[in-house]
Symmetry: C2
Amino acid sequence: MKTIKRKQHSLKLKRLGVDSRNEHLVFMRRDCPVCKSEGFEALNRISVANKEREVVASLVVMDGFNGLDRHQVGLSEDATRILQAREGDSLTFSHLKTLESMSDVRRKIYGNPLDQAAYRRIVEDIVDLNLSNIQLSAFLTACAGDRLDLDEIICLTRSMIDTGQRLDWGAEAVFDKHCIGGLPGYRTTPIVVSIIAASGLRIPKTSSRAITSPAGTADMMETLTNVDLSVKQIEQIVDEEGGCLAWGGAVQLSPADDILIRVERALDIDSEGQMIASVLSKKAAAGATAVVIDIPVGPTAKVRSAKEAEELAFRMRQVGDSIDLLVEPLITDGSQPVGRGVGPALEAKDVLAVLKDKENAPADLRARAVTLAGKLLEMAKSANPGEGMNMASRLIESGEAWRKFKRICDAQGGLKTPPEAEFRREVLARETGKVVAIDNRRIARLAKLAGAPAAPSAGILLNVSVGDEIDEGGKLFELHAESEGEIAYAFEYLEENTSLIGIE
Amino acid sequence: MKTIKRKQHSLKLKRLGVDSRNEHLVFMRRDCPVCKSEGFEALNRISVANKEREVVASLVVMDGFNGLDRHQVGLSEDATRILQAREGDSLTFSHLKTLESMSDVRRKIYGNPLDQAAYRRIVEDIVDLNLSNIQLSAFLTACAGDRLDLDEIICLTRSMIDTGQRLDWGAEAVFDKHCIGGLPGYRTTPIVVSIIAASGLRIPKTSSRAITSPAGTADMMETLTNVDLSVKQIEQIVDEEGGCLAWGGAVQLSPADDILIRVERALDIDSEGQMIASVLSKKAAAGATAVVIDIPVGPTAKVRSAKEAEELAFRMRQVGDSIDLLVEPLITDGSQPVGRGVGPALEAKDVLAVLKDKENAPADLRARAVTLAGKLLEMAKSANPGEGMNMASRLIESGEAWRKFKRICDAQGGLKTPPEAEFRREVLARETGKVVAIDNRRIARLAKLAGAPAAPSAGILLNVSVGDEIDEGGKLFELHAESEGEIAYAFEYLEENTSLIGIE
């Protein structure tokens, strides 16, 4: 496109040190020559350029800010980095021309399905931070619930894979697992990875930190070892050990997803299509060729009915097929938390107990891990159909899984002992009876109020499962926290939510 | 609710002078004790409090910002004002508890209709700035297109009326007008107000500035007089003159709408339900009892088909009925711009020519104003059915409308002469033929690129209408701008959009 030279005022960059995450910000005084001549106002989307580069930023107008003079401009740190700009550099500014991707987003808002080219434009602009948080929110909302059809989910997934890094393991089969989530304490990943790697298969696992839960697998693993690995480190560790347990955010696999998740978290909404694209794009980008997906179903789990779970399983298989990823969904019981601990360190202890094959290890966690690992062993043809679970069990009992786990942790930087919470308080049953229900969502909320995952030793240590008999005054669970205040905060919530564990 | 005292760190307020409009912002250093102890991160919603008051703000994290020390915190100006806080005051911070209104928004995102109580909660939180731009964007997107049913539009309209100021004119009938927009240069309001006030009726008109167009009525009127009036001034001027032409943003009529419009502008989306609620809530809050609504229909107007216009007219009547507002929709031709000028000052000149009954006044603008005023005169029973237009015409021809306009401007602060653009350039026909179409949207875009509305004299002076014969080299229109650069910028667009005026 031919560009005609416009008379442009410039401003000098002043470093302010602002971290604005998803969205670049530009800070201008209302009385600066650029703001006045261009008619800029708060929330405007502005193209900021130096001679070589350009970024899009949202304007924050400053009235009489003594940190900037009239010829200076502030920029958020990421934008400064992309422009490779330094203090005092001259920058120029113009109104953002229309983004084609936003026309696509608008079509979606009005309920029209989008094609591959449209999703590619949108995802590319997301990765380049060309869309503001307001625009990202509109895109997510327009895709929320079941508003993406199967073709659209496939297009979105492909676009997300193509806009990030992709690990390449050559021609070999590469395995992975995923759980749809919603069950506090559900931490099978380290166990499954250890079993699969111990069996000689390849499982380069990247996990997320908590989005809305009290602990993500990465938060939990971080209490045991370093999870902040580069792509090169991942490749080296997996070459040596067959598996790894890394934080996915440190590698640029499906970076659009990381950006969208921050906005999803702010909105606290789920979008089935978005979720499928998020999960499968990460698996494909990590180089997986076969993945087992656990879909727990329960009244307070993420997926609430068997029908919903079956539809989700069907779509995940279909999307998997379209990107050459063998997807095996497993629909499981999601009626209560898994294991005893809820919170990073407390969950790590459950994981260690299973891996060490301790007698008191939580049987439900062990059974789930063995089921998933067994399915993967069958998909890999390492076990005959129906024999995967036995093989997985034997790899725990023989100590091979535990030895593999220790070797992986050593390769990642050494195995640590999870921290212990300083402040604890028991919560007792107010009546005698049988435990009939445990509310996953409110257990998660309580653990978060106690400080998890930011406080790694905080959370809940459950003493009962559904079906247990309990006497009045018997211990239901322990609250763990790193400060008195957080214990008090959690208790405040408990007093308003007495039916968190149902006893009849 | 009982609150348990938590150990809280506090920070001292440092004034930064940030204007963040819709959304309060709080600026903290990553290494400050609050950020660390509470686990806050960028985009988090935080409750900021002093002893008496509380606001909700979005966090901006600062890395090594020399404008704040580790025990200081920055707040956007509006938040500082609401807290009545001063430099050095101690403030405390906590994670925002769940907003009930966001549960409502989520239900709407998933496609469920909301009731009156839900809309009230949402609109109250919008007005209190409790929702972030991300959340506002999700709400608007969830309501976009035709996703609000009639009952919901009524609930939203009522909530918007109830959360702002409301002008009270006693038992008297009060008139108003509105145009759905999309036609550049369409500026009937000052003419209609002058006619209606001259006839002895009451028409307290508040208008908006441009949202996505090159001029709003308030932008245009501002080239002729002061439009920034308080409620008290409006009441006084209307008591004396029967009418006024004020900017609606200065009075708090339907303040939720002002907030939502900023986000809608950033997204550039329309929502029929939102638009009806926006228009009718402002009319009702201004105390109107009867309003005429012009709905221009054309391929490049906002409403593109007669069917769409009829449905919109039906819904507006229904919503009007539910809030005791008599709504009379008029479906009109929206196939091309109205008058000659597009841009604040150029449109003002057209308006003055009609009001002064000049021979060269744009006939289309006059006819439209007379039609709308005539309908209002009939609704008021000042004219018999079918005789309103004649009466409106006579009020122009007799000079009464023009004298009334001058008196209103005098009361608002005096009548000014609109500014003239320093830089002009003619755009000529490239072929001989008949003008068959003028693209409203691209004319508007071109006028904006020339600088309108921020540059009040900028815009387009049209020399042709649909149906005119033109020779190659004949003048199609003049571009007006306040800088050479803006003329060049507009020309750059013209070269890519040669079919803006269709000649066959």
